[in-house]
């Protein structure tokens, strides 16, 4: 099995260091091979909404930078863990570039879901499990709820955890999650 950690080099505080150390030992304990890619400011271009990844070079971003490596490794992992600094209740800028440029991995078409909402169908038959671990000093309940809603209300196959100054708690929560690839709706 393979896991990939994605994180933001702009917000490396104590919380960040603790979360990464928990993840390193968690995956080592499970004998899962782990890769870790940090994204620094200005390292990834922001998505310009050109949709080239759908109608020019299907499945790949047309801008050439580290995103090709991130998406290639992400799509070939069993689990991808995003360590996310929470800013205004959502992803920080560097992590948001990683998220936005995941768009190539979906198809351009639309499907109407049972809950009455539209979504894009999957491009691949199965995907890694996605785990978001949010952290921020003094995170408000409101921003925490917002981050959960952004990730869980509209998307399937995304788990959301928060760093709450307890390694044991994070260990336990990680232990209760599925770490394998999944098919079905995005």
């Amino acid at each position: 099995m393979k896991a990939l950690l994605l994180s933001d080099a702009e917000f490396k505080n104590d919380g960040y260091n603790e979360v990464t150390s928990v993840l390193y030992s968690f995956f080592e304990g499970k004998n899962i091979k782990l890769d870790h890619i940090e994204t620094a400011t200005n390292e990834l271009a922001y998505c310009t909404g050109c949709f080239g990844c759908w109608i020019k070079k299907p499945g790949e971003c047309v801008m050439q930078d580290k995103i090709a490596q991130i998406n290639q490794m992400s799509m070939n992992s069993d689990v991808v863990v995003y360590i996310v600094p929470i800013v205004f209740g959502q992803f920080s800028a560097n992590m948001k570039n990683v998220i936005d440029r995941w768009l190539p991995n979906m198809l351009p078409f639309f499907e109407l879901r049972k809950d009455g909402m539209t979504m894009h169908p999957p491009r691949y038959s199965d995907y890694p499990s996605h785990i978001m671990i949010g952290y921020a000093k003094g995170l408000s309940d409101q921003d925490e709820q917002l981050f959960t809603d952004i990730n869980k209300k509209h998307r399937k196959n995304v788990e959301v955890l928060f760093w709450k100054d307890s390694k044991e708690k994070l260990y336990k929560e990680l232990g209760s999650l599925s770490l394998s690839r999944k098919g079905g709706e995005l």
Binding site: E10, F11, K12, N13, T41, Y46, C47, T48, G49, C50, F51, W54, I55, K56, P58, G59, E60, N71, Q72, M75, N76, V87, F88, G89, Q90, F91, S92, A93, K96, N97, I99, D100, W102, N105, L107, P108, F109, F110, L112, G116, M117, T118, M119, R123, Y124, A136, K137, G138, L139, S140, Q142, D143, L146, D149, I150, N151, K153, H154, R155
Partner: protein
């Protein structure tokens, strides 16, 4: 709690240089409103840019002044500190952007994240309370998709101690723009104008008193059969791909499959 978060942003992440000159605030008697268009689109006119122009035209005879800022161009060309200083002097912002993965696009996140740093570094003793409004448009027809993105702008407003007004959410944004002159759009535009009038009145009313009711977000979409909208959308992708010499089957490529 917010203070701690601010402390965090201040200590670790401020890219904006040291405090600049503390120009005295503009001598003005009318309110100043900045329309912030934050679509990252480069070569085609965006729904957000069109909406920014629409607001500018709609408010052209009002008693407040209106200025437009395009986030992509500001990041690319200008000295951001200069842009942020202009923002500091405004009384209200209308932040207009597309929904990307159910929240703000990366480019706007960067712009506002750095603005909070600027704000904290340049705090002036007496600040007037700004008002902030959000206009979010998304590709899917259900305007409910934009709810969290509006909350994100509310959360941003709190970080700069501004007063959040409300959000306008547009589902099927590309159609509202693309078919704006079609008769079936009349109702939506009537509602958009009502919402813009609400923003205007709220700006002119000044600071909201605690006992006043909070304003409700306005959710709008094209008055058009949803299944047809989605099927037009899908056909549109196939047509554009053809123009790029791609057959329909090629749209399903899986470059990252083992």
């Amino acid at each position: 709690m917010t203070e701690k978060m601010e402390e965090e942003v201040r200590s670790e992440n401020c890219k904006i240089g040291p405090k600049g000159d503390s120009e005295s605030s503009m001598n003005k008697d009318s309110s100043h409103v900045i329309l912030i268009d934050a679509s990252p689109k480069v070569s085609e006119k965006s729904v957000s840019e069109w909406f920014s122009d629409y607001c500018r035209d709609y408010w052209k005879n009002e008693s407040f002044t209106v200025e437009q800022i395009n986030v992509r161009k500001s990041i690319k060309n200008a000295d951001l500190t200069e842009v942020y200083k202009r923002m500091e002097k405004a009384d209200a912002y209308v932040i207009i952007f597309p929904l990307y993965f159910f929240c703000m696009p990366g480019i706007l996140t960067r712009f506002l994240q750095d603005y909070v740093c600027f704000f904290l570094e340049h705090s002036e003793p007496v600040r007037q309370k700004k008002k902030v409004y959000a206009v979010v448009n998304c590709g899917f027809p259900e305007p409910e998709n934009n709810e969290e993105a509006i909350h994100v702008i509310k959360s941003f407003s709190e970080k700069i101690q501004a007063e959040f007004g409300f959000g306008i959410s547009l589902g099927a944004g590309p159609m509202i723009y693309g078919a704006k002159d079609a008769p079936f759009m009349k109702k939506v535009f009537h509602n958009i104008e009502e919402a813009l009038t609400m923003i205007k009145e709220d700006i002119l009313a000044g600071e909201r008193k605690p006992e006043q009711q909070t304003l409700k977000n306005v959710y709008l979409t094209a008055n058009f059969p949803r299944k047809l909208y989605l099927s037009f959308g899908s056909k549109g992708w196939i047509k554009t791909a053809k123009a790029n010499q791609l057959e329909k089957g090629e749209l399903y490529k899986r470059p990252y499959s083992k």
